[in-house]
């Protein structure tokens, strides 16, 4: 069957009111509590009330036994459009795409996109053991290292195949920590040196402590609405220039060396009418640095296998020549469960609207945000990316 029609642009649809509820390492509260706070923060920023929300998208691993439906009653919402996006690190990009089309088609006027999780002392272990059927059957019984072990395998293979060194991954982590020191909400508040990175406690070779995100409790939210409505409210907004998503790409690769971006990246830039060098800021999904390096390749900043050289050649800090994960990313700001899938998006919205404060990149008009999620068995299945534009700062 031939590939489908030319995609419609997201003209007249904007993303507004990014909200981040400051993360905590552990929380006694439930996911509902965190999600409610993020939603309230976004609505307050847009001077809206919950009655104005007629569309809702939720992503959370710890809402059980509730889903998005239960949240409507819990939070007193009566949306006419509702979605639940269980795609982990890709949930932000995917949620934004869904919401934009819903508003564009008139199915909803204001869609609240919210993601967040709580983190009880034992909740990470519980989640891992029942994450997916394939994980339960074919990866969890093998050492029960969780995503650390899965990404250790990908990292080991990538290092052998493409000559990446630990220092290359370290450079990504050290730069993000530098960025995080300017983000008052980041969980990590002390500098990280390359010596500390290299000498860190091994977790699952070749992965060590600072290659791993810290699971935290937290929530993120933003709203999608018509441009005219945002203007009427007088709130800063970001245009949605292009989006892609892909699931279970390259199933025949014996081990993950690339994500679904590699399939669709040409379409992303073509739809936006932009090129990789037009991006002033890039937010990749960074649960482990190896996947950051793959994203640099698959998002078109360099060729496959050139990730290590690309990292060596660039300064990834806020003031560097390739500002990347300016909030510190999950590696230094913390991974708030599904909220991790929103972290890059809310930060990019702040960047292109000139509201990022201490992490602001100068002249950030175009931002690329990529998402990656769901290690169903041996690899991440969901990938997505979006290009946002704004007035910058």
């Amino acid at each position: 069957m031939p590939r489908g029609a030319k995609r419609h642009p997201y003209d007249g649809i904007v993303a507004v009111a990014p909200a981040t509820v400051p993360y905590q390492r552990f929380s006694k509260e439930a996911a509902h509590w965190w999600i409610a706070r993020a939603l309230k923060q976004s609505l307050d920023a847009a001077s809206l009330s919950s009655r104005d929300v007629d569309g809702l998208i939720v992503s959370s691993f710890t809402l059980f036994p509730d889903s998005a439906v239960g949240l409507t009653q819990h939070l007193g919402l009566s949306p006419r459009w509702l979605d639940d996006i269980p795609m982990g690190g890709a949930c932000g990009v995917v949620g934004l795409r869904r919401a934009a089309r819903a508003v564009q088609s008139g199915d909803a006027d204001v869609v609240a996109c919210v993601a967040g999780d709580t983190n009880h002392v034992d909740s990470f272990r519980r989640m891992l053991s029942s994450f997916s059927r394939f994980a339960q059957d074919a990866s969890y019984p093998y050492g029960s290292g969780g995503p650390n072990a899965c990404f250790a395998l990908l990292t080991d293979h990538y290092m052998k195949r493409f000559g990446a060194r630990r220092e290359d991954f370290g450079k990504i982590c050290v730069a993000q920590r530098q960025n995080a020191l300017r983000n008052p909400h980041a969980v990590m508040k002390t500098p990280l040196t390359m010596e500390q990175y290299i000498g860190a406690r091994p977790i699952s070779d070749p992965i060590a402590l600072f290659d791993c995100v810290m699971p935290v409790a937290g929530a993120e939210c933003f709203l999608v609405m018509r441009e005219e409505d945002a203007k009427a409210e007088g709130i800063p907004f970001a245009y949605i220039r292009a989006t892609i998503e892909r699931h279970n790409a390259f199933p025949d690769d014996p081990i993950q060396m690339r994500g679904g971006w590699a399939v669709d990246i040409g379409e992303l830039y073509a739809m936006a009418g932009l090129k990789p060098e037009d991006m002033q800021v890039v937010q990749t999904y960074d649960d482990y640095p190896v996947i950051v390096m793959m994203q640099f390749e698959d998002l078109g900043f360099c060729g496959k296998g050139e990730g290590p050289d690309f990292v060596r050649a660039h300064d990834l800090t806020i003031d560097g020549d390739f500002p990347h994960n300016t909030s510190g990313g999950q590696l230094s700001a913390g991974q708030a469960g599904a909220g991790g899938g929103y972290l890059g998006l809310t930060e990019a919205m702040r960047q292109v609207t000139g509201t990022a404060g201490p992490t602001q990149v100068t002249n950030a008009r175009n931002a690329l945000v990529s998402g990656f999620g769901m290690i169903n068995f041996d690899r991440g299945l969901c990938s997505g990316a979006v290009i946002l534009s704004g007035e910058g700062a």
Binding site: F134, G143, S144, N148, L153, S204, D205, P254, I255
Partner: protein, 419 residues
Amino acid sequence: MTDPLARPPKKDPQVRTRVPTRPSHFRSRAALGIAASAAEGRFMLQVCGECRAVQYPPRDACAACLSIDLAWRDVSPLGRLIAETTVRTSTSIYFRERAPWRIGTVKLEAGPSVMAHLHGDLLPDADVRVVSVLDKSGQGVLFAVPDDATPNMEDDPQMREMTSDPKHRRVLITDARNENAPALAKALADAGASMIFVGEAESWRPYPHRGALAAIPNVDILPMDVTDTASVRELCGEIGGKTDILINNARFVRPGGILDRADVGFAREEMEVNYFGLLRLAQHFGPAMRGRGADGDNSAAAWVNILSVNAWANSPDYGLFSASNAAALSLSQNLRADLWDGGVRLLNVFTGPTEDEWHQPLPPPKVTPAAIARAMIDGLKGGLEDVFVGDVAKDLIDRWRAGPKILEREMMENRGASS
């Protein structure tokens, strides 16, 4: 090269016996096929009946053509190790206690990539053979080993978690009077068992092979009669806390079906030994073994029953003996479930007609004591649950799997010709 396993030190009675923990035992129904093939030491994966695509992880529909015709088939176990990691922190108590633990990704010649436990002798990029084994949870897992055997490879700590190797373990053989006792004891001694206790009923009554049995290194003949609860209790009190492997070879066999016998005398004796004997042993030795499933290098590891393959399908010429073995097979499944929590394996060695006085008029092939001993050792070293020894037993279980009702007819027709 694997360091040879040192003889475990004497147990310190003041130290708490380590409580057995288990790796995760949760599996989808489809994934239980790995355990089923591991129980027999086969390497099988699902193969699509329509497009022949080999599948992994186990699933409900073919990932290449959506067919639901997925049958478990023997496939090539060869592959290449393309990535590895050493897991140093784990969310599982079991792996936490045994860290660091090495796993890897193997690209199989048969098609898919699999995650597998790694043998310590594997180097990066090695050519490997993948075996299905049962882990301490009793569930099937994949284990990559060197394609060519290496010295002491069975002593690899990760491998030994999957097997019931007799090396440095203390064994109880329950019936010295059985003709196969010397062969079993000899094979266990050769496999490195550190103590071989042998239960002897009615010690005052002589039997021909006692001298040969007593002459085997590390053999210690002790009084026990599996038909006498008090004697089982007494021996268990003495050695129950240091019985790592129990070989139940006690058996009472007489030819004949229902109409060949005038009363229930022999049938009762068959049940007394073959069924109640197993039950008595299990009730006494079972709890101690289950509690010692993680007790160091000589932890409790396995319970072995030597059963007639006619436990699966009645042989009318030995109809009542078959029935007692069917009862024992069912009981063994109960015992397997009970020992599961402790990570102690239950191995059934199913044999066809054996080379002894009670099968004397039957034609060959008959199973020798040495063949039973070999099968038992292979089963223990492979960590298996079901071993079929001899051509008659292998043929019978093949036929049983193809269709029990058809086999029932065949057993009736073959009456007087074989067992």
